[in-house]
């Protein structure tokens, strides 16, 4: 269940996204509270990833409001903000089709996540004074710690393109965590993982929630994973939100069974 407070972190109201005549996301409402793990599920093409892209600034929503209430900082409406601004405000994401920096090392990938939390400018980088060196050291140190957390510290100096699929997904999580987010958005983190890896991922996500003090919103098709770790679930179909509730409620919801879960879950 939810840990402690019920402070709202993210508040999405009537979010709508049109692509020409196609309405990909239609009047979706969604809330995330501190410490929660929330899952967004639904059939392929339901608009889940489009929803993610609207919230993280990759797309500008056609209408609706995306409001954030950072634990440290003032509440604001973030529609149409640039993705890097939104990340700096404290929401970090991973991608459905892994988007690492293939010709950079594993450690350097995580160090990019620290970019928005560090401040060395061009002159500082050329001069490399005490402040710049200190910042660089702490960046390396923090990145190593995050790699330890996802179990990749042994591969820190490998090129990220040489990692296995499951390891690349975990690296994306570490890179997102490096931006010090209060909300982590994971787009199908278990896609392409075998049952063993999925099991480890489940443990990792729960651990991150506790240790990094982040709330998590995830899109996922692996129902076992979703039902095990989510506090609440939102279900989407054809761009619309069709149900919301705890895993128990969602499992029994006839509309969700028909649209997505199918008969075997019903049985």
């Amino acid at each position: 269940m939810t840990s402690g407070s019920r402070d709202k972190l993210l508040e999405v109201r009537g979010l709508t996204m049109d692509f020409g005549g196609l309405r990909a996301v239609d009047q979706v409402n969604l809330d995330i509270h501190a410490g929660e793990i929330v899952a967004l599920i639904g059939p392929n093409g339901a608009g889940k990833t489009t929803f993610f892209n609207c919230v993280t600034g990759i797309y500008t929503p056609s209408s609706g409001d995306v409001l954030i209430h950072p634990p440290a900082g003032k509440s604001q409406r973030i529609n149409g903000m640039k993705p890097n601004r939104i990340t700096t405000l404290g929401m970090a994401r991973t991608f459905q089709n892994i988007r690492l920096f293939p010709a950079m090392t594993v450690l350097e990938n995580v160090m990019i996540g620290r970019h928005c939390r560090t401040s060395t400018n061009i002159f500082g980088a050329i001069w490399r004074g005490e402040a710049a060196r200190r910042e660089e050291r702490s960046t390396v140190e923090r990145s190593y710690r995050l790699l330890e957390k996802v179990g990749l510290d042994g591969l820190a100096n490998e090129f990220s393109r040489n990692l296995s699929y499951g390891a690349q997904r975990r690296l994306e999580i570490a890179r997102a965590l490096a931006t010090d987010p209060f909300l982590l958005l994971l787009d199908e983190p278990a896609a392409g993982m075998n049952p063993q890896e999925t099991h480890e991922l489940e443990a990792l996500i729960s651990r991150i929630r506790g240790e990094e003090k982040v709330a998590i919103l995830l899109i996922e098709h692996d129902m076992k994973l979703v039902m095990n770790i989510s506090d609440r679930i939102y279900v989407m179909e054809y761009g619309k939100e069709i149900a919301t509730g705890t895993p128990q409620e969602i499992k029994k919801n006839p509309q969700v069974i028909e649209a997505y879960l199918g008969e075997e879950a019903h049985a």
């Binding site: 890097n84 991608f95 920096f101 160090m111 990019i112 970019h115 928005c116 060395t120 061009i122 960046t139």
Partner: protein, 415 residues
């Protein structure tokens, strides 16, 4: 065997057909007759057949070796490249660097005697292109932003010095930073409108920018002197000493050498910093890069501005060294040549770009005997490079970071 024989035969026939008009037909305009040199055709056919046969034999051998290796069940070990091993060995790389430095400093005294300073002048023009290559390496190699009009910034630097000197009497040392800053300014001017462009579109806009600059220089007669250019640009001064021709060249050499060292130092520092990592991330994946909180506009602009800065700076030295400039020194061919240096050397690799720049500028000078075949060889080398080493001479090096905190913890545990 029959298969490869047939393939070779096909290839040789195709080559005979392709080269027919060039090699066989010769029109004699004096007698109005056409000469058919069929013997040449047979030689071309035979050569193509033999080369193709050898090629296929080599491919087959390699395939066999790979199969044998797979059957033996040994694990594949990837050997780090020679350059990577050098990079990882601080002692050896420092020694090599010291050797290169001594050679570079002694160079003018080794090759020039009396009034013969031909080699020094050639080296100066080669080193000018080394700086240009390293500058473009920031924009193209590190940040991945294609620029087909880079020579325009070089022109901006050169004309800054030439114009400020002829109109206002500004000296070389004042103009040197001004030229760099003007290059930077133009880099930003180009950078702003193309922030949203990628790939092909970026290539077209930068190509247009390079052409516009050249056309403006050619046609704005009242200011730039038009196609005639600007002459009598003073050479760099040295405490008002009077230098003879050779000494002037040697002085230019040391000046440009110092600039090369400065460029290497700055590029290297930037590359291994927060800024450089952001550039590389932008090159690797733009969407992921902004999603990780990197400001795209600022990162792109800084890459353009810093790349252009070096071109502007070295443009001033170019104008001073040649003491004459006109728009013909800033053609698209030069932009393409600098880009070729970056691609050939290896995107983002400082050492690779230096080697490629020296090779592309020095080899044509010293192989003047084969001047007619220059473009042929150049094209051939390019094609072969793209097939066998698409990543360039020296590909992206892996920089290893020590986990300082962890190492310290371990030390404490031991105690």
């Amino acid at each position: 065997m029959i298969g490869s024989f047939k393939k070779s035969l096909g290839i040789s026939l195709w080559f005979m057909f392709l080269t027919l008009p060039l090699i066989v037909v010769k029109v004699n305009t004096l007698n109005n007759t056409v000469e058919w040199r069929w013997a040449n055709l047979i030689w071309v056919g035979l050569a193509a057949f033999v080369i193709s046969g050898l090629w296929q034999l080599a491919v087959k051998q390699q395939e066999l070796r790979r199969l044998k290796f797979a059957a033996s069940g040994r694990k594949v070990t990837i050997k780090p490249s020679l350059a990577q091993r050098l990079f990882d060995d601080p002692v050896l790389s420092r020694r090599l660097l010291a050797g290169a430095a001594v050679l570079a400093v002694a160079f003018p005294w080794l090759v020039s005697t009396g009034q013969n300073f031909y080699h020094v002048n050639i080296m100066v023009s080669a080193l000018i292109f080394v700086v240009l290559g390293l500058g473009l390496n920031i924009t193209v190699g590190l940040a991945g932003l294609l620029d087909l009009g880079y020579i325009a910034f070089f022109a901006v630097g050169a004309y800054t010095y030439a114009l400020l000197n002829s109109h206002f009497g500004f000296g070389f040392w004042l103009c040197l930073p001004l030229g760099g800053l003007m290059g930077m300014l133009f880099g930003m001017v180009l950078g702003f409108p193309i922030l949203r462009l990628r790939g092909d579109y970026l290539a077209i806009v930068t190509l247009g920018f390079g052409s516009i600059t050249k056309i403006v220089l050619e046609n704005w007669d009242t200011v730039t002197g038009g196609a005639a250019g600007i002459a009598n640009i003073p050479r760099p001064e040295l405490f008002s000493l009077v230098l003879d021709g050779r000494e002037k060249s040697v002085y230019s050499y040391y000046l440009i050498l110092a600039l090369v060292v400065l460029t290497i130092f700055v590029t290297n520092r930037l590359k291994n910093s927060r800024i450089g990592r952001a550039w590389m991330a932008l090159r690797e994946d733009e969407i992921a890069c902004v999603a990780m909180g990197v400001d795209m506009a600022r990162t792109k602009l800084s890459a353009y501005a810093l790349g252009a800065f070096w071109a502007g700076l070295v443009g001033v030295i170019f104008a001073a060294h040649n003491s004459f400039i006109n728009p013909d020194s800033f053609t698209f061919m030069d932009s393409a040549m600098i880009l070729a240096m970056v691609v050939l050397g290896g995107m983002g690799s400082i050492l690779g770009v230096i080697i490629a720049a020296l090779a592309l500028k020095l080899l044509p000078e010293y192989l003047r005997a084969f001047a007619e075949y220059r473009m042929l060889v150049f094209g051939g080398v390019m094609v072969l490079m793209m097939i066998f080493r698409p990543q360039g001479l020296i590909s992206n090096m892996r920089r290893k970071y020590e986990n300082a905190a962890l190492a310290e913890e371990k030390n404490n545990d031991v105690r």
